[in-house]
Symmetry: C2
């Protein structure tokens, strides 16, 4: 484990940087859910995190660790999703500016929210332009620092602080389920758990149509896929990172797969019984638990609700027939 890209101490250091800045999000219980699933479920509400998702943890950790000279030149990121808002908000809080490269057809809510945090949004046509090229213009020509969405030790360690809070708040946990796309959240979470309480099992979850991490685990090395079709728009990364995968391969027990229908059922349950808005990707880990209940029978299981950024129109479009 000494050769892994991040250590438990990196997560501890991240928690120090985030103290008083990130929300310590609440853990929700539901007796109804426990009864239905035959286990004790602890729902970590990262949809209530600043910026609406766990992504704030990693972005803030990475940007706050920069030197004043680096930070003064500004931050650049490309994302159509929650990482955009996380970087924009973190840059604002740390007194620097951010350029976020986003697809021109991003949901208006996300464009507005990113601009609302004071970032400059540069839009591009996702069919004819390369976001990497555009970002390179800002990083090479203006010296801005690129903060990647997952393949970065400080981002990975920052995401791990969520699991650290779960461990502090829930005694005698048996398992933790975290959704995975590029693998930053899962690798940080697994590092936190295994560094503190190695007997707790850590599972990843991803859509069955976006199972690049599952197939990578089977292959023993990162394998890619085409852009997957899934309602979980935050889990569409086409290949795990090399660093994130190295951690996940070493520490994660298994990857559980979900269908879109299972995700919608989990979203509906969260809405009606917990009064919480969870985006599709944010409901993925709960969907994985709901469809693998035998694996967790009579266990104490924590599930991360990774984000809640979905506009009302899209929510209604997805759920009007569920």
């Amino acid at each position: 484990m000494n050769t892994l890209p991040i250590s438990y101490q990196d997560v501890v250091a991240a928690a120090e940087r985030l103290r008083g800045v990130a929300h310590r999000t609440p853990i929700f219980r539901s007796r109804t859910l426990d009864k239905i699933l035959g286990c004790e479920v602890f729902l970590k509400a990262e949809n209530l995190q600043r910026g609406g998702a766990f992504k704030f943890r990693g972005a803030y950790n990475a940007i706050s660790a920069l030197s004043h000279a680096e930070r003064a030149k500004g931050i650049c990121a490309y994302s159509s999703g929650n990482h955009a808002q996380a970087v924009a908000l973190s840059a604002q809080l740390l007194g620097t500016r951010a350029v976020i490269v986003m697809p021109a057809d991003s949901p208006q809510l996300k464009l507005d929210a990113t601009r609302g945090y004071g970032a400059e949004v540069v839009t591009y046509d996702r069919y004819t332009e390369s976001r990497e090229d555009i970002a390179a213009r800002y990083t090479k020509e203006r010296g801005m620092v690129l903060v990647p969405p997952f393949e970065h030790p400080l981002v990975m360690a920052g995401q791990g602080t969520c699991a650290m809070e779960i461990l502090e708040d829930v005694p005698d946990l048996d398992a933790l389920i975290v959704c995975t796309s590029g693998g930053g959240f899962l690798s940080g979470s697994a590092t936190a758990v295994k560094g503190k309480t190695p007997n707790i099992l850590v599972y990843g979850s991803e859509p069955e149509t976006a199972d690049d991490t599952k197939r990578s685990m089977l292959a023993g090395h990162p394998v890619g896929e085409g852009v997957p079709s899934t309602i979980c728009d935050g889990l569409q990364t086409t290949r795990p990172g090399d660093m994130t995968f190295a951690v996940n391969k070493a520490l994660v027990t298994d990857i559980l797969l979900t269908s879109d229908t299972e995700v919608l059922t989990a979203m509906k349950f969260m809405f009606e019984r917990l009064k919480l808005v969870v985006e599709p990707s944010g409901a993925n880990a709960l969907a994985a638990l709901m469809s693998n209940r035998s694996l967790f029978s009579n266990k104490r299981v924590a599930v991360t609700l990774s984000g809640g950024n979905i506009d009302l129109a899209r929510f209604i479009q997805l759920l009007h027939n569920v």
Copy 2:
């Protein structure tokens, strides 16, 4: 104030009974909301209370104060809404049984939830049968105790514990807005506030089409109305209670009125920005603030989100064009 039906000490006693039983619900902030409204807003999330609404506080307070002999005979209540679930859950927690008289055409979610808390649900046809007559059968013939939804000192005092928590959590508050129907929540809240920090102004809110409390305040005595047409199904009581009105007349600054459109706007904001599901009645107080912002300019204002019990289908029906 000595002649009012409840005192600050009654609220303090209720808080003791509810300690460790009711959730101490969180207070949410939104920088965006503060900026839009030009004031500091503190949102008390009673939609996350047990049973999905503040109603649990009053029901549990009333039932837990009964003698063992009284409690042993069981509890009866009539309600098509959140009071039903609150009484059912409280009775279950206190080891007694409850009969809840509910309209046969109540939303399935509410019937299921009430039964889920172990209550016996007796349905009636709201066009041909009297719920009072049915309830009388249980109270007179079986000796069950009727727990009314608002016109009861212990119910009123229990509802006041929510405001007490707000006062503890938010220093230097200028005003509090609480929705009102029968007036239990408002009277308990006003009693808590005025007993501890008299300079804080307490406002009620209600739909402009269900303005019986506003008109009662102008008349100086309770006046009734026909069953009002409003999306706020929890605020359709046709007349304030005598006891609740006596308190509100003495302690409440004014009643603010809302339109259905304003309520839907508030619900949408809570959904998209706070990730919280709030039922129409639960968004009423926030709608009142949003449409009376000049009244609260630069003030620190607490708003109660009184409940979150709305099924997904109804939510979509109401909000698909907003």
